[in-house]
Symmetry: C2
Subunit: 228 residues, 2 copies
DNA sequence: CGCAAAAATGCTGCATACAGAATACAAAAG
DNA sequence: CTTTTGTATTCTGTATGCAGCATTTTTGCG
């Protein structure tokens, strides 16, 4: 049997020396990925002994990581019965998107006020790169750049709490968005909305940007609602 | 020396059998209270050995609770150096209030749409009770009811994510609000704003309620800004 | 007396060990 | 055949022990 733990392998695949980051962070990120990517499906019990052996760590740091994720809302703690991967209902997703929409609208307005011209130029560059990935049909890279753009706009709002909360909701929804693989025409529409977003940002059109961001997320809901 | 741990004493002061809740929850709540009430000041290192002995628990569950709080943003984890109580700058507080304002405005709108007449009547009752505490000069009870009313309006929005995020920010700000002990005239103004809030809710006046909630939080910022 | 290097101390990070609760299974009674 | 109860197993919750890192103190040398 392979004696190298899963964690080591993943860490080595990164850059530079092995395990720069503390084990706690590594574990948290790894478990988060496992949940987002569906390796641990909703409702799955997180078996400490088994999972620990699989990852090559003892139960102590594993439990700490699980508690951390519990506070992030990705897993649910059941007294004396451990932790299970949280299951999100359709309403849960809708609720998250409602809040996310509001936050992005706020972020859009603030970004128009606060972003430097350089910041905006960088966003345009990211956008162009994303469109290139779209044209190439590279869904995975498109998806990554898409997320980066949304996070980027929020970052331009210069509000750390806003970034933090946005990041948290984005993470919870990642799992869902993986499911909602939209068709070609919807994908094109999403790209068009992104074009609108960047244009509004360049024009520093607060209400315009907020409107597009809101519409974009409403459409996201339309895209995934059937998949849940 | 008193052999009963601090945790036991606090638990016994509750209702029913001792320690209904799991130790994890008890610890998290206790530490959270210690931070909010200023017993653990910002910048304080959370000394595992010492703190554990003081609370009468071993390091393991204590560490798990600390990790939980770290994800809530109340403490900061520093690799190989443990955890410290997070210090919030004036900008941090302003950022939180900006987000909180946006969330409450959203909640106000949704509450006007979704709340039942009974729900609204209950809010009015809470409000009247709060005004009574104000007239009696009972700051602590006033403060508690105040928080309950804000949480209540958010709850009426029927959006669990909204409630959760709101609760998180409210918790982080509690520590700050404890400082901002407003003067008599500002207190009166705050009560007046609350009266407006309830009236707007009863009239199901979405924009009116959102406006008051926003103004209320802006004023909250004015009240605490000098104290930071 | 000042400074640097090295030892010593204290704390965190992780692993392991033990106790108690929950569940699964089996056997017996209705 | 179903239900119930006793027992065994498994997993969680908590305590403790050990190793490594950070910091501080002490000691040796200029």
């Amino acid at each position: 049997m392979d004696n190298t733990s899963t964690l080591d392998r993943r860490a080595e695949s990164g850059h530079g020396p092995i395990r720069r980051t503390a084990l706690h962070d590594t574990l948290v990120n790894h478990l988060r990925d496992m949940i987002i990517e569906g390796e641990l499906e909703p409702g799955t019990r997180l078996h400490e002994g088994q999972l620990g052996e699989q990852l090559g760590v003892s139960r102590t740091p594993l439990r700490e990581a699980i508690k951390f994720l519990a506070s992030e809302g990705l897993v649910e703690l059941i007294p004396s019965r451990g932790a299970v991967v949280k299951r999100f209902s359709a309403k849960d997703v809708q609720d998250m998107l409602t809040v996310l929409r509001n936050l992005e609208e706020l972020a859009g307005k603030l970004a128009c006020q606060l972003a430097s011209d350089t910041d905006i130029a960088n966003m345009r560059r990211l956008h162009d790169e994303m469109v290139a990935r779209y044209r190439a049909g590279d869904r995975l890279q498109y998806y990554k750049l898409n997320q980066e753009i949304h996070s980027g706009i929020v970052r331009l709002a210069g509000n750390s709490t806003l970034s933090e909360v946005h990041q948290m909701l984005q993470t919870r929804l990642k799992r869902i968005r993986f499911i909602g693989h939209e068709g070609a025409e919807k994908w094109a529409a999403a790209v068009a909305e992104h074009e609108e977003m960047i244009s509004a940002l360049e024009a520093r059109d607060e209400s315009g940007l907020a409107e597009v961001l809101g519409r974009h997320l409403d459409n996201a809901w339309e895209r995934v609602r059937s998949a849940i």
